[in-house]
């Protein structure tokens, strides 16, 4: 009887222990989500400053810098990966299918809808998100936000707003040149190496028929929402850095993991809902 009561107590204790930890887990996630939403609402409020000419000039300088770093400088790695993907796709295509219409179908379903947004997002996370977390983290570590506050400058206007506009635009740009380079690379492989009869013009004429307005909206949404999420979470992760040097590397690591999961979820969910 005593043994049974002891085990019952242990199970009971274990149950409350697990419940407490589960509750704490979800509470921390909810708190995190609420703080990020709060940051988004503050950022939206700061857009009112774009009506002021002098502040618009400051924003424009920082926006161009961010767009250059995340959109233009990523073009090289984006195009190389796109070219390699095009080669792989064309190699498989010439083994199993031979018609331009079939290739266009495969291209739209595999590359345009899924791979291009995913790979472009991964490149943005790997290159630009980590850079932002590091920059903001160092500013926080060195108490430089206090310097901005002493001069009456809102850090959200200075750091979040440019990224919130630049990241979605960068992703859209990367989608354009990723898809273009994949298509070109695939065709070059098929015509030069595989001696295929498919002309570039026939590919270009068959593709538009397979791309609907819904398609474009979904792909653009992946870029816009994905870019906003990456920008917001990266700046937030950097700002949460404490007073230890190792906080920065930890923030980069945790943020990259979280963003990869979130970005994949966003893309897959949008695809499932739309198609």
């Amino acid at each position: 009887m005593i043994v049974i009561r002891r085990w019952t107590l242990r199970i009971w204790f274990l149950f409350w222990f697990l419940l407490g930890h589960l509750g704490a887990f979800f509470f921390r996630r909810a708190q995190y989500g609420a703080e990020v939403l709060g940051l988004l609402s503050l950022s939206i409020r700061e857009t009112a400053n774009l009506m002021v000419r002098s502040r618009r000039q400051v924003f424009w300088i920082l926006f161009k810098r961010q767009l250059y770093n995340s959109g233009y400088k990523a073009a090289y790695v984006n195009c190389v990966i796109a070219a390699l993907l095009g080669l792989a796709l064309a190699n498989q295509f010439t083994l199993y299918l031979q018609k331009a219409e079939s290739f266009a179908d495969v291209f739209v379903v595999v590359v345009l809808r899924e791979l291009a947004p995913l790979i472009s997002g991964i490149i943005l996370i790997a290159r630009s998100s980590t850079a932002i977390v590091s920059e903001i983290g160092h500013l926080k570590l060195n108490r430089e936000f206090e310097v901005l506050h002493s001069q009456g400058i809102n850090a959200i206007f200075l750091f979040i707003l440019p990224a919130l506009f630049a990241f979605p635009l960068s992703l859209l740009l990367m989608l354009v040149y990723f898809n273009s380079v994949t298509l070109l690379s695939a065709w070059l492989y098929m015509s030069w190496y595989a001696d295929s009869d498919i002309s570039f013009s026939s590919l270009m004429f068959t593709l538009p028929d397979r791309i609907s307005l819904v398609e474009l909206i979904v792909i653009s949404s992946k870029a816009v929402f994905g870019g906003i999420i990456i920008a917001l979470l990266s700046v937030y992760a950097g700002y949460r850095v404490g007073e230890r040097f190792t906080d920065i590397s930890r923030a980069i690591s945790n943020n990259t993991t979280a963003l990869l999961l979130l970005f994949f979820c966003l893309n897959i969910m949008l695809s499932i809902l739309a198609y």
Partner: protein, 216 residues
């Protein structure tokens, strides 16, 4: 004129100053001599500049509570010179000076460059304008902080430990500039530490037991 009335300053549950009543008059330089390592002078100066809020009491600029000033007004009137850092590492020295001026639309754009170069030449840091803060020494950073305040032409300068590490010649140049600022009717408040030369100041205060005492 900066007036401190029944000011209580502190953070994290620690009271640094419990009853400060003092008036920093326009056209004068006040030296606040530090008593020890963590006597709260930096926090006091930051309160006067409106960067941190006091626990209680009032700080008035020409009769107006500084808490009621807009960010732009506070930036234009009250300037704080950091003891360490004080610049944003992402930007060059030039951009650190120009950014707040542009943000608050203090001067026309074509005037900003002239003002920056003019003040940088006076403080002999014009050759550092394209460098980033992490490339500078601590003395150069403190001069940069002072330069930012002078470029802005703020009414009150709160300077935290300026002298440390400066050569005699450099410091004499800085003192001459500060005396000129005072002569133009500015309020200059400096925190000095033992060994610093503050004989040029018009008033001397000592931090003692959480209050400011005048030194004869």
């Amino acid at each position: 004129m900066i007036n401190l009335a029944q000011l209580q300053v502190g953070f994290d549950g620690v009271i640094l100053f419990h009853d400060v009543n003092h008036e920093f008059t326009a056209g004068s330089i006040t030296s606040i001599r530090k008593a020890g390592l963590q006597d709260g002078t930096t926090t006091l100066l930051k309160c006067c500049a409106g960067i941190v809020s006091p626990r209680s009491g009032r700080i008035e600029y020409n009769g107006i509570n500084i808490e009621s000033l807009s960010e732009r007004e506070r930036y234009k009137r009250l300037s704080y010179c950091f003891e360490i850092g004080g610049m944003v590492s992402l930007f060059t020295l030039y951009n650190n000076f120009a950014l707040p001026l542009l943000y608050h639309d203090v001067y026309p754009q074509n005037e900003i460059a002239d003002r920056i170069f003019d003040v940088a030449e006076k403080l002999k840091i014009d050759h550092l304008l394209e460098k980033e803060p992490l490339q500078l020494t601590d003395v150069q950073l403190r001069l940069a902080n002072l330069a930012r305040a002078l470029i802005l032409d703020a009414d009150a300068l709160f300077i935290d430990e300026l002298q440390a590490g400066m050569s005699r010649q450099l410091y004499d140049n800085v003192v001459a500039i500060l005396l000129k600022q005072a002569a133009q009717g500015k309020v200059v408040v400096m925190v000095t530490t033992s060994g610093d030369d503050d004989a040029f100041a018009h008033h001397h205060l000592l931090v003692s037991d959480g209050i400011l005492r005048g030194v004869n």
